[in-house]
Amino acid sequence: MIPLSWYLIFAACLFCIGLFGVLARKNAVTILMGIELMLNAVNINLLAFWRYLWAPKADGQVFVAIVIVAAAAEAAVGLALIISAYRRRQTVNANEMDMLKG
């Protein structure tokens, strides 16, 4: 059997890689990819805790289902925003999206 710690460390590594992508990349599409990696790391943690501490009750899985719904909504709205900004400014560079800057 795989120890619970392996899943937690795997998810922590995935989360930190995604966090670095979000903080460091210039391209807005790549920033969204980093967010997807972070959400996946959260889901691995939730499912691992469900499997090791909560199964066979279904409560833990409900969280995962709702996180997947939220991730789908986030991806759709985020990419729509990027395409809209690209149409106006011809750029997807997050540094140049400064229309709201005072």
Partner: protein
């Protein structure tokens, strides 16, 4: 070390390597393809947790839908970044420090936690109980309200995405 552990280590290595490539790839298109491999690796990790329903959901929702969405966005916005050789912004060492510091902190917390070695709980005959999950999502004493709120969120996101991305001036 059992066979399952070797499989998990392989899955973890492939997933983390492709996640690093998502962050490091020069072209957005390559990053999107590496992202698909990372998402498949996460689905395989779900399978090792015996969460077969979510392994299938991961392939259907992430690899199927979200990856396609991201590839479309990458193709629609491709021209703008090609003349810019630097793919990381100036503050990337600080970002590396923040991510590495968070990882170190998490590992430190894990090392102090005693619940680590708890064995996996027994699953009923035939694996996870999908019927229980369905009932929990639709029973008023279960998670009916969060489920309905999530559906509402999806509808709002769909309408919002159409409104924001569509060219309404035409």
């Amino acid at each position: 070390m059992t066979g399952l552990q070797v499989v998990f280590l392989l899955i973890g290595a492939v997933t983390l390597a492709s996640a690093v490539m998502v962050v490091a790839a020069k072209r957005v298109m390559h990053a999107a393809l590496w992202l698909i491999l990372a998402l498949v690796g996460v689905a395989a990790a779900y399978a090792t947790l015996e969460a077969s329903f979510f392994a299938v959901m991961q392939v259907a929702v992430y690899v199927g839908a979200i990856a396609i969405l991201i590839i479309f966005a990458a193709m629609l916005t491709r021209r703008s970044m090609e003349d810019d050789p630097a793919r990381l912004n100036k503050g990337w060492p600080a970002a590396l420090l923040a991510a590495g510091g968070l990882l170190a902190g998490l590992v430190y917390l894990f090392s102090r936690w005693t619940g680590f070695s708890s064995p996996a709980r027994a699953l009923p005959e035939g694996g996870e109980n999908i019927a229980a999950l369905g009932l929990a999502l639709t029973a008023p004493e279960g998670f009916l309200v969060p489920f309905e709120v999530a559906s509402l969120l999806l509808v709002a996101a769909m309408i919002g995405a159409i409104y924001v991305a569509g060219d309404l001036r035409k």
